[in-house]
């Protein structure tokens, strides 16, 4: 027990998150009947059960919309395929573009969905849909995938945040109607997270907290005990986090050089390695994003370079998780907000194409070495096993053992399912 806890008598319970609603209402028969039982209450009922599953998810998000033709769905011999070469993969009968040789080597771990299809062709709207499973609206702020996963299966006992995002953009969404406590703990890159270094040393930090606690008890006695209690819970949680030994997870320099080299020394490589360290330390959802996939011109050279940054780290992440025995319980998803047009435009580019695109999943119970769905020879249409954004979210839920039919309440008391519609892609798990 640190000084802070001794001073305040505040014990950080296993949810540790401050929600005024939780604090105020507690569990009552009325809230049970109304279906507004707060998540902390649910967690205390089900925490052990949920935690025992130990599932986690790493989302590798290719911002801008990666070309399917130059990655996992090449069309050799068709004019739409361009000059992109194909290579055989470790999975018999499956070929990738030659831009992703490292992923090809571990193709036995990968399930490629080549039949993703939806209608949002605008970056912002498509990014929202692929992060929340819902199209954007004014009336309901849908939570992003990381927030949903953190809420449902986050480990409430850990000192670290349940949802970390490396390479933050607002468009990826946050806790939305679930509240800021489910927002991502955001880092602009894999360097040390902001404001977690003690500016004044641990002893002085404890002294400061001690003084604060004495002043707070005076204020609490002036009629604000509830506000003070909430504030103290939050500060205890924050202080616990930044003084936790688990903060070491953020320090990439603790990895041997050989491991850092294996992930590649790119920013995305560092992000992938940090994602693995964080999941190992108890974080439930990590999102790592990389920009630049919006290749309206010079598509082939640019995608080649981007794959050069992404291919090795992504493959190493999956191999590393496997080697550590973590892959079975860690779902890894590689995707962007949409794909690129089959037709190559006059600038050697490809434009936005949500109608037929691809993504890759590994781990989390997904059977590797398979391709799901297909497009016609020119990549114009999905001709086999179309998969919608809702189907995809159902599949995420199935992998992570989340009840997708569970409803959360929006601000105006409208129940919102975790996923509305769609069916899991069962072949992923067969």
């Amino acid at each position: 027990m640190n000084l802070w806890q001794r001073q305040t008598g505040v014990q950080v319970n296993r949810d540790g998150v401050i929600g005024r609603r939780d604090f105020v209402r507690g569990v009552s028969a009325a809230s049970l009947a109304a279906g507004t039982l707060s998540w902390t209450d649910l967690m205390s009922v089900r925490a052990d059960d949920l935690r025992s599953r130990g599932m986690a998810c790493i989302l590798l998000f290719m911002r801008g919309g990666p070309s399917q033709f130059e990655t996992f769905s090449p069309k050799p011999g068709h004019e739409h395929g361009g000059d992109t070469k194909v290579i055989d993969t470790a999975a018999p009968g499956i070929q990738f573009a030659d831009n992703v040789p490292h992923m090809a080597k571990i193709a036995n771990e990968l399930a490629v969905i080549r039949s993703m299809t939806m209608k949002e062709g605008n970056h912002v709207r498509a990014t929202y849909l692929m992060h929340t499973g819902y199209a954007p609206t004014a009336s309901v702020k849908y939570p992003t995938l990381g927030a949903l996963v953190a809420k449902e299966i986050g480990d409430k006992t850990t000192d670290l945040p349940s949802f970390v995002r490396i390479g933050d953009r607002a468009a990826d969404g946050g806790g939305g109607m679930l509240g800021v406590e489910y927002d991502a703990f955001s880092m602009s890159n894999a360097a040390a997270p902001a404001n977690t270094n003690l500016p004044s040393g641990a002893d002085r930090y404890d002294r400061r907290l001690g003084l604060l606690s004495r002043l707070e008890s005076s204020y609490a006695a002036q009629g604000s005990s509830q506000e003070v209690a909430e504030h103290q819970k939050l500060y205890a949680k924050a202080a616990k986090m930044i003084t936790s030994a688990k903060m070491e997870a953020f320090q990439l320099e603790r990895e041997p050089d050989s491991m850092r080299d294996a992930y590649g020394r790119s920013e995305f490589g560092a992000g992938c390695l940090l994602a693995r360290r964080l999941v190992e330390a108890g974080v439930t959802f990590v999102e790592v994003s990389v920009n630049g996939w919006d290749t309206h011109d010079n598509n082939f050279e640019r995608v080649g370079k981007l794959c050069g940054q992404v291919d090795q780290p992504a493959a190493q992440l999956i191999a590393d998780l496997k080697q550590r025995g973590m892959l079975e319980k860690t779902l890894v998803v590689w995707m962007g907000e949409f794909g690129r047009t089959p037709k190559i435009n006059p600038r050697g580019g490809r434009d936005h194409f949500p109608k037929a695109f691809n993504l890759v999943m590994a781990g989390g119970g997904v059977r590797g070495g398979q391709v799901i769905g297909a497009t016609d020879p020119g990549g114009n249409e999905v001709v086999e096993r179309p998969v919608s954004a809702q189907d995809l979210f159902q599949s995420f839920c199935k992998s992570l053992a989340i009840d997708s039919a569970k409803e959360n309440m929006s601000g105006i008391g409208r129940p919102i399912k975790i996923v509305d519609g769609g069916k899991p892609v069962d072949e992923l798990f067969a």
């Binding site: 998150v17 004014a138 009336s139 002294r207």
Partner: protein, 547 residues
Amino acid sequence: MKSSSLRQKFSGLCLLLLLIFALAPQLAQAQKSPATDVAKRIDASLAAELGAAADKTPLADDETFLRRVTLDLIGDLPTPEEVIAFVLDSSPNKRAMAVDRLLADKRYGENWGNYFRDVILYRRSDERALLAGPTIQKYFADQFNGGAGWDAIARDFITARGDVREAGNTGVIMAQMGQPPEVAAEMARIFLGIQIQCAQCHDHPTDRWKRSQFHELVAFFPRLTVRPVRDGEKRSFAVVSQDAQPRKAPKDGKYRGSPEHFMPDLNDPSAKGTEMTPVFFLTGKKLELGTPDVKRRSTLADWFTAKGNPWFAKAFVNRIWFEMVGSGFYEPIDDLGPDREATAPKTLDILAIAFANHDYDVKWLMRAIAATNAYQHESVSRGTASSSPFAANIPQPLRADQIYDALTTALGVDDFDSAKPERIKGYRGGQQGARGEFNRTFGFDPSLPRDEVAASIPQALVLMNSPILQRAISANAGSTLLGRLSSEKLNDDEIVAELYLRCLAREPKPDELHACVSHISTNKNRSEALEDVLWALLNSTEFSQRK
């Protein structure tokens, strides 16, 4: 500003007090404004509707009142000089006079501009709307400071056209990228307090509006569109009318760009749907199909803001009352019905009717609310207040801009250096610098019930550890607050009192003074100990709230 000890300040106040007394007769005239009369009627009505519960709490003391009203009206802390002058002022009208002074401060418009920018942009369905943030804020600031009526402001938003970086009143349309159903829903939510968009897909389970009525409201907006503007380097969008013939039916089968709105067929989403005539659901008044965009929207603005439309006044009164008193007649504040029950509905009627009779004068409304006992009561925690509504004020968490301004004012700096001085690219660039960072970390949707607004760990980390604040609380630099105070040879009691006045706008209580002074005297390094005291005050519950 050179700081001086409390004692010096007290003695220096004589002149100020003389000035106040000299002005008092004139200000007393203003005091007899209808706002005060209405405030009395409000308190009497609350007592009648809610029984004795409405008046069992004592009024807040002067320091608490001044900090509260200053944060509420101008979004900032009072200065130590203002606190002392106010406490020593024996004029019976001093609270009303303080309100008048604050409403004349340009920070009044800026504060409520920040608030309404957030009201609009936290419901954006498109990130690109963030481009318009500063323009929206400035539009509101200018209107509020210029005394524009809320009806004129609403009309501006409903009828808006032009470049979103020049015309801040395009904000609601831009936030929804001109999508007619979303625009209609937001106009109804913000200006009428009606959540009719629930009827977008189905007849509402609890409200009496029908799905067709929502789509009749949407039918006022099908002819507006938001277009990209690219002239040179500047990237922007413009709201324009588009009355020409419909473009070819887009390949997805939806009739966007059609000059009329079609209600989708739920059983056959690919069908054209039903052509909807513009009808205002509250009155049944309608326009012909084929009416041009400008006429549609200006007519709807007339109907929204008509004196005979009680929803318009009630929605605004309820919102401002909630922000100032801490709880609303209706909560959530933007969901008034038609079948919701209000706390003290007759009182809301009195205030809403008076607001309409004063031509939707926003300053008048704030003056009236601030004059009520309901506003001036001591505060009690939200959790314990619900059993007897409006019996006390309720503490509110400070909004992001209020925290930013309170910190800069307390620490005596104009601005903090941004941790990321480089220009932020993309749409988030709408808010640059340290204030933008604070808004991204501390911001929340001000329309949300406050028991759903939780503080986050990153917020605590900013206040505890951020380099920008650590630099600003340093006692070792001559330019900082503690650097200046240290050079004035104040004793420990004086310096603690000064810090309390600056950070919390009050003097320390004896036990607080004792805790701070003993912290200073038991530390070998006085500079460090003073930094600790300042750090603790800025990290206190009290600092982050207005009670």
